[in-house]
Symmetry: C2
Subunit: 217 residues, 2 copies
């Protein structure tokens, strides 16, 4: 495949593909002439993966680099590859120690997770994310602790158990890792979109119920 | 309260508070002298709300303006206020007609939502978001249609029904609307964080199971 064909079949401008090449997100093609190279179908797949991570997952180019490296790193277990995807999805500011105003919330979240018996690492960025959500509610005057998330925790625990069972076991190692990463990123966006639609639906039902006149007696 | 006290108690710089005032996110204070004004506790609450929407929800200042206007608009029903929050949370590019490459995916998503019997409006941004997630999977070679989201839809439908039942009914109208908006934004982030933690937990369990040696016979 020529670079122009890669562009045509992926729907991405040639300039974008050259940018991916420069950034190392896409391996170099096989040189055929000065300033010309031949690309394989795997290049097209990689462009689609990068596009998905950027457009759907909202990942930065640096985060995509880490994910691509994880897919290519044969020494990584699936569990660790999932960890790389989670770190890539986390907002940049959540790395490192939590801010001072988050310390109490993080401690409360840790107690909550321990109470659930969840095996999660202290450095999981999602732990700080959850603490930030809790601290926001408290600052807004909600008299709540981390148990306000209990119903949500039960829901996603059931969901995650099912999701992990869906992990494909056939295909090459890098295909399996890619499935796990895509599953995490794309289904997260789908879950959020579906929750909004479900809220709209349930809100419409409940509103309707209130608006209905009493049946004539 | 002086502006310096607002800053101290909210943890936001005075410059940020002045920016909120200029942008109309915060009503002007009661003038007490040239270049001085007195602020009420409601100003502090508003700063905390704006901070949450920006920091936790990732909303743009324009999106926050629309949410604040919805909270202040007495003519809006709760259902419509929820709609404003959903539109504010959607990425800007999803407004208007879907891109050409999304048309098939949107049609499939519509069939899927109709099959669920969900009462959602065609202009709901989450519908395009879901179609984008579906189109991404298809471009990555997954042989799936929108029914791949069935398990997620059931999960969030149950959750949304429960969530709507939690809506506080006491307090002023603007307090209730504010609760709905905050609930949508903050619990969405919490749900996403919890899903990542649950995935990590379930992945750790399953990995452990595989790594465990057979018990000696």
């Amino acid at each position: 495949l020529k670079i122009s064909e890669l562009s045509q079949r992926s729907g991405r401008p040639v300039a974008t593909i050259k940018y991916y090449l420069r950034e190392g997100l896409l391996p170099a093609g096989r040189p055929t002439a000065v300033n010309q190279a031949d690309y394989a179908p795997s290049h097209l797949e990689r462009i689609r993966l990068v596009t998905t991570l950027v457009d759907v997952g909202g990942l930065s180019i640096d985060a995509v680099k880490r994910v691509v490296a994880a897919i290519e790193d044969d020494s990584l277990t699936l569990h660790n590859a999932l960890g790389v995807a989670h770190h890539a999805l986390a907002p940049p500011q959540s790395a490192g120690e939590p801010a001072a105003d988050l310390v109490d919330a993080v401690r409360d979240v840790d107690r909550f997770l321990a109470g659930l018996g969840w095996r999660t690492k202290p450095e999981a960025p999602a732990r700080t994310e959850l603490a930030r959500a809790l601290a926001s509610l408290q600052q807004l005057g909600w008299q709540v602790d981390a148990t306000v998330f209990s119903r949500y925790a039960q829901t996603v625990d059931d969901l995650a158990e099912w999701e992990l069972d869906q992990t494909p076991t056939d295909g090459s190692r890098s295909q399996v890792v890619q499935s796990v990463v895509v599953g995490t990123v794309v289904f997260e966006r789908a879950l959020v979109a579906l929750r909004r639609l479900a809220q709209e639906h349930q809100s419409a039902i409940k509103q309707l119920r209130i608006a209905l006149p009493e049946p004539p007696s």
